[in-house]
Structures are given as C-alpha cells and as structure tokens.
Amino acid sequence: MEKKNRISNQQLKALLVTTVIGIGILSLPSEVAVALNNDGWIAILIGGLIPVPFIMIMDRLFKMYPKKSYFQITKEVMSPFVAYIFFIVFFIYTIVVIGYIHRVFAEVIKAYLLENTPIKVILITMLVAVSYAARSRLEVLARVAVMIYPIILGFPIFLLVVNLPNLDYTNILPIFQLDIKQIPNGIFTAYFAYLGFEITTLAFNITEDNTKSVKYTLRGLFTVIGVYLIVFFVTLSQYGVFQLKRGIWPSIDVIKEVDLPGYFVENLDGIVLAIWVLVVYSSLGPFFHTSGIILKEIFNTKTHEVFIPFLIPITFVISIIPDNLVVVTKVMARILEYLAFIVSIILPVVIFIVAYIKKRRVKT
C-alpha cells in the first residue's frame, strides 16, 4: 500500500535515473574524449562506480538512525554550529547546481530552438516552472520521475536505432591506448555527470521497504552508466575521436545527422531537444526541492514551500553571473566540481564516522 509521504523502491530508482541524467549527457562524450580519447568509456564506467560506496555509507547511516532524515541526523550527530555549516555548504551546492543546469540548458535551448529569445526569459520561465514542482512533496517528484523514466530510457535506444545505418564502428578502435596519468582527470570529469545521486540518497528514509533501497539505487545507477555508454559509443562511432573532441553537445548533434526518408519531421534534433526539457526539468526538480528542504531545516519551519519563491531570484542571479558559455563550463563547472566533491563524498563520510563513533561510545 502506498502510504502518505512514502515512495516505493521503483520510484526511487526512477528518481535517481531522472535526477542524474540531465544536461551532463549532452556534453559528456566530448568531455571524456578530450581526457581519454577512445577510452572515454573507462572514465564513464569508473566514474559511475565512485558513488557506490557513498550510497552504501548513506544507507548505513539511515539504518543507524531509522525514520530520521539526513538533515535531522546531521543535527543530532554534529554540534549545532558544525551542522549549520554543513547545511549552508549543502545549500550553496544545490543552488549553484540549479543555476548551472539552468544556464547550460538555456544556452542549449537558445542555440537549437529559440534563437531570438533573450536567455533571461528562458531562464525565468524554466525557474518558475520548476518551482511549481519544487513546492510539492518528494513523493510527487518521484511520480513524475516514473512518468518521465521511459523517455530517458527510450532516448539511447532511439539514438542507436536511427543512427545504425550511418555508424562507422571502426571509429571505436583503437582501444586501450590510454595515458594512465589522464585517468583520474577523466574519471573526475565523468563523475560530474553522475551528480544527483546524493539527492536521491536523501530519500532512503522514506522508502517503503528500505532494506532493498540500496539494491534499487544501484540498479538505477547502472542504468545511467548503460545510457551514458551507449551515447558515448554512438557519438564516437559517428564522429570519430577527433571530431568528437571538438563538439560542444555531440549527443544532440548526432541526431542531426539522421536523415531517413519518410520522416514527417525533418530535423529530429529540435524535437528531441524539446522532449529533453522534460528530462532536465525532472533533474532540476529534486535539487530545487532539496534546497527548500535545507532552508526548512535551518529556519525550523513546518514546510519548505515558503522558501521556494525566494529561491527563484537567487538561482536566477547565479545562473546569469557567468558572461558566456565558456565561463560556465570552465569556471562555474570547476567550482561546482569541488562543491560536489565536498557534499557528495566528504560530508557523508564525516557524518558517518562521527555517528559511528558516537554509537560505539554509547554501547560501551
């Protein structure tokens, strides 16, 4: 039975997949190709495995403090001052992520769909639309995720099928020509495309059967890895490694290459990008929701809804700070990578260690 404020493990899986897959996928193939050439798939694979131990840690943490949210656990484990610092770091991370995703996506929309519309208008409309989702409970976001899930899974399959006639598989070779020193860099880049899993792990405490939550989360994670790998191989065999490196959003461009007779739609990239609005929306929703939840914990209010309207201008300003796309991808993304490293890896580990020690001490 679906209880109030509970989500099923299937919904959790869908939530993970839709949150993680967003704009990262559009540029991922070229980014890993820059780092590792033909062996970019290694980065995608290993980068996708990095979250696994941290998902486990989060699960253990929630088992230690059943029925409590991550933020409540933080408050209980840490001294209030440290807890608030943690919250603020997490909050900054979420709003920067929102700003970043918005900006990149608005740039994509402007480039492919709305050439003449000012980017600020695209940003504002998207933010307002996302805030509508963010105001609702996580349960609702999970339901939306399940509805959008087939679209995300359909995308790589669609990509594969329509591109099959004009793929050149020799482009995939040679493999294992990698430079060992470049591997960490490549993995770090790829890891960036997996962000969002830390938001989903926060839902562990509201799943119906939390003994299986980890299993489903990992399944979701492997689905994401699979999607990324397919997209990488399709773009690689379509373009070859040198052209792939120069592309900005190869995953969209590759659809442009498709020209099958009998199509009612001539340029598929526009349509696919339009559908991608759904996917990006579903990854923005949970981030926006979480930032509201953090504010709720900081200010101890009953609901997170009240903060959502105030977050719209804040995230809007963050998203228009960078002057152009280069600043976004080179500077903003770098800052975000460090923040993500702190929030998704260091914070859970620290909280877990302290919690573990505290529990030990109580027992002895």
Partner: protein
C-alpha cells in the same frame, strides 16, 4: 425531537400547522371496524401511487368493517396488529418521531395515524412518474448491455444489484442536503474494498452541508480532492455495468436520486481512459484503441499548439516541401498563426456549444452550416489556411475519442493555454506546459490514491499496465487492478481450455 400525542386530532393539527399552505397534502379519515376507531392516512397527493394505497391499505382496513377491532388482541397494540394482519403493503414501519414522519411524507410515503396511539405507521407507497430504462446517451456501445440509469434511485440500485448477487455487496443509504434531503446510496463489496478509501468517502459525504443536491455533480464537486483542477477526480457514468465492474474492482459506487449519473471513486488516469466497451470486445482491437486514445489525448491538447510553434518558430523542423506549401497557403492570410488558430478554435467551440443545446435535426443543421460552410468559406476568404482547418478538425475529433467527457473537457480547455505558450515560446513553451501538467497530475490524488496511477508507480510492478495501457486477454487479467489496493486481490482461477492432458 418532537413526539406524537395520543390524541389523533392533536397530531393532525400539528401536521396542519407544519404543512400550512401546502395544498397537496391529503388527509383521509377512516373509521376502523365496529368500534369506529378513528384513523387517518396522510400523504402528498402526487408523490404516491394512489391505486396501491387504496387497494392494499385503505381497502384492507375497511373491507371487513364487521370485524371487531375491540378484541383484546387488537386494542392492546392496534398499530402493530394493523401492520401485521391487515395492511398488505410490502414495506411498513412504525415511527414515533415527528421529524421522521415529516420526512417520510415528503419522500412519498403514506403515514397512518390511529386514535389513542403514540405511534404512526409509515406505508411504502412511493410512486411517481419516471422515465423508463433507456439506452445511455453519452456512453453507447456496439456490443454490451444497453440499459442505462434513469432518474429513480431505486431503479438504478436495482440495475446495479442485478449484476452483483453477493451478500457482501453493501448498500449504505444516506440523506444529503439540508432542504432537498436527497437520497444517496453508497455501494461497495465489503471484502474487496480498502477500508481507508471507504472511510474517506464516508467522511467527506458526512461533511457536506448544503441546501440541495440536484445532481450527482454537486456531490462530486463537494467531495473531490482538488476543486481547482480542470480534471475530474471522480468517475461519472450512466451505465450500470460500469458501476458494477468498478465495484468488483474494489471501488465505491455512489448513486444519487433524481439523476442518471452515478459516481465512482477513486479514479485514476488508467481508469478514466477506459470505455465501457473495452471489456466487451476482443483484446487485440481494444489494445490498439487504447494506445490510440493516448495519442488522441496529445492531439486534443496539443495539435493547434504544434501548428503555431511549427509555423512561427521552427519551420525548419518540418519537411522542406511542406514548409513551402504551408508558406504558399498562408500567403494570403493576414494574421499570425496564433490569431488564426484562436479564431478557428473559438469558432468551433461556439459551434459545438450551440450544437449541444439544440435538438437533433437543428443540431445537425448547425453542424453542416458551421463545419462545412464556415470552414470552406473562411479558407476561400483568405482568413485561415487550409491546414488550420485540418488541425481544428483533428483536435475536435480527438476530443470525442476520449471516453470520459469531463476528462476530455479538461484538455479542451487547457488546449488554449498551450496555444498561448506555443505562441510565445514555441516548442520549448509547449514542453514546459507539458511538464507542468505532469506535475499537476502527479500532485493530484483521488481519495488518497495517486491520480496518475499506474503510470506513476502504484500498481506498475504488479502489472496494472496490462489493463490500462493495453488490454491483455482476459486469461492474463487474473488479478484485480492494484490501484484500489483491494483486500481480495485475485478474481479469476486458472483456465485450461482444451489443454488438459
């Protein structure tokens, strides 16, 4: 709570006082037996079946006027004896509360007062003109039962009951409406339905405090979850077989007096997209039609919006030759696509509205004048492009392809919002609108059940898609749909036609 007095005249005066200026209230005085005990039948003239009253009640007590009602047996409890030995009407009840007696008179029962008795006798004599059983107008089928609900609650209940011969079928009668005191019947099967749903339905109906319930829609709007939404959260039907099928699925059927439209709760998108005939036709064609309906939803909501987006923002997305043709056909049209689309969509809505309010032959005239002449002429006059006419036609037809009228109307309405979005932001605007619609639908609940089930998770794993997205062969539908969280999950045993060893 006022009680009756022992004196017949006092009682009658009391009634006369209450029903002052009510001229259709009839007092029929009689004298019983040799003792000439006074008694009086009170009823409202037009609400009763006069023949039944005179034959089985008045005649019954008067025919044997030699009978000694003074016998000890009789005098000790005259009312009870009248009920048990004399009056031959099927339903008889003793009553001492004045309020209930007044309610009974107003609902068409006859009340018998007897001298020296503190109780009165309620006789079931209800009989008033009703329409007979006719074919449901809004939900016709090619194959399947053709009886539809009427305006009489008892008749409607009978139609449902005939399909469920199970003592576990519970019927709870309630009166709603301060003045109308409308009878409603809540029907469900006790060992299938989930208690939480039932409790929620009962709770919400109890809360209602309104003057009158004239149609089930009033009740629907008062007990639904989100009254601001354009989409219905309770299913409405005039087919008894649909109600029965829903009750078997573990849902609650709510029948309201004086209306042929019954309510079914809870409802989800999966259930709302089903037509009555789905379970009466073969599974192949039904599955195909169900997929078509989903397509029709998108057409009904988005076709004009896509037209606007494509012509004004993304001509590059459609095939080049179509773009040329489109440009050529629009060359004489002085308006932007959005004005053109609004013009035509509003015209068709006006046409539709006038067609609905008019009777058959005039209605079809409107269709011909509106559809053919206006369509043809407006293209020739250069106001709209031919493609726009096609789009409008497709949209309107798609709306009719959806089985639930209110659900279709919801899309008819939000279509205009999508047109505005498309006019401002093109495809991006449409997608933004779609995603907001998704969230809106996901937010909605119908009596605690997520409205988007099974597409949003509940029942997805258990295979609810087999009877929503498509309709699998009956042999594969061994379990009830899970979105109602039924207590009794299995509804069918194994079938081995010709497969025995």
């Amino acid at each position: 709570m006022e009680e009756l007095s022992k004196d017949l005249n006092t009682n009658l005066q009391m009634l006369e006082e209450i029903f002052k200026d009510v001229d259709d209230l009839v007092f029929r005085l009689v004298e019983l037996g040799e003792s000439k005990t006074k008694a009086c039948f009170v009823f409202i003239d037009e609400l009763i079946d006069g023949a039944r009253l005179s034959e089985y009640a008045i005649q019954a007590v008067l025919i044997d006027d030699k009978k000694d009602f003074n016998l000890k047996l009789f005098t000790s409890n005259l009312i009870k004896n009248l009920a048990n030995r004399e009056i031959t009407i099927s339903e008889v009840k003793e009553e001492e509360d004045l309020g209930n007696i007044i309610d009974a008179i107003l609902s068409g029962q006859t009340v018998l007062f007897v001298e020296k008795e503190k109780k009165a006798l309620l006789l079931e004599t209800r009989g008033f003109p009703t329409r007979g059983i006719s074919e449901p107008e809004s939900e016709t089928v090619v194959r399947g039962p053709r009886d539809g609900f009427g305006e009489n609650l008892k008749m409607n209940m009978a139609l449902v009951r005939r399909r469920i011969r199970d003592p576990k079928l519970k019927v709870k009668m309630k009166k709603v409406g301060r003045r109308s005191k409308t009878d409603i019947a809540i029907m469900y099967i006790e060992d299938i339905i989930n208690e939480n749903i039932l409790e929620e339905v009962n709770k919400r109906i109890e809360q209602i405090d309104i003057d009158a319930i004239l149609d089930s829609s009033t009740l629907e709007f008062l007990i639904e979850d989100n009254y601001l939404s354009p989409f219905p959260q309770i299913e409405v039907t005039e087919r008894p077989d649909t109600v029965a099928a829903s009750i078997y699925e573990g849902r609650v059927g709510i029948l309201v007096d004086n209306t042929p439209f019954a309510l079914i709760a809870p409802v989800t998108i999966g259930a709302i997209m089903q037509a009555a005939e789905d379970h009466y036709s073969r599974w192949t064609i039904t599955s195909f039609i169900r997929l078509l309906r989903i397509f029709a939803v998108f057409l009904a909501a988005l076709a004009p919006a896509f037209y606007i987006a494509m012509t004004s923002f993304h001509p590059g997305l459609i095939p080049t030759r179509l773009t040329y043709y489109l440009g050529a056909s629009r060359i004489n049209v002085p308006f932007p696509a959005v004005v053109e689309a609004f013009l035509m969509e509003i015209t068709i809505e006006v046409l539709r509205e006038s067609g609905t309010r008019l009777a058959g032959p005039i209605g079809s005239t409107i269709g011909i004048v509106g559809g053919l002449i206006i369509g043809q002429a407006s293209v020739e006059a250069g106001i709209v492009s031919p493609l726009m006419i096609i789009i409008v036609a497709i949209t309107t037809i798609s709306v009719f392809a959806l089985p639930n009228y209110e659900w279709a109307s919801g899309f008819r309405f939000i279509r205009f919002a999508y047109m505005i979005l498309a006019a401002i932001f093109g495809l991006y605007g449409i997608m933004l609108g779609i995603v907001v619609l998704f969230v809106h639908l996901a937010k909605m609940e119908s009596f605690g059940i997520p409205y988007t089930a099974p597409y949003s998770g509940l029942g997805l794993r258990e295979g609810d898609l087999k009877d929503t997205l498509i309709r699998a062969p009956l042999q594969k539908l061994k379990y009830r749909p899970r979105f109602t969280l039924p207590k009794d999950k299995k509804r069918m045993g194994d079938i081995k036609n010709g497969k025995e060893e």
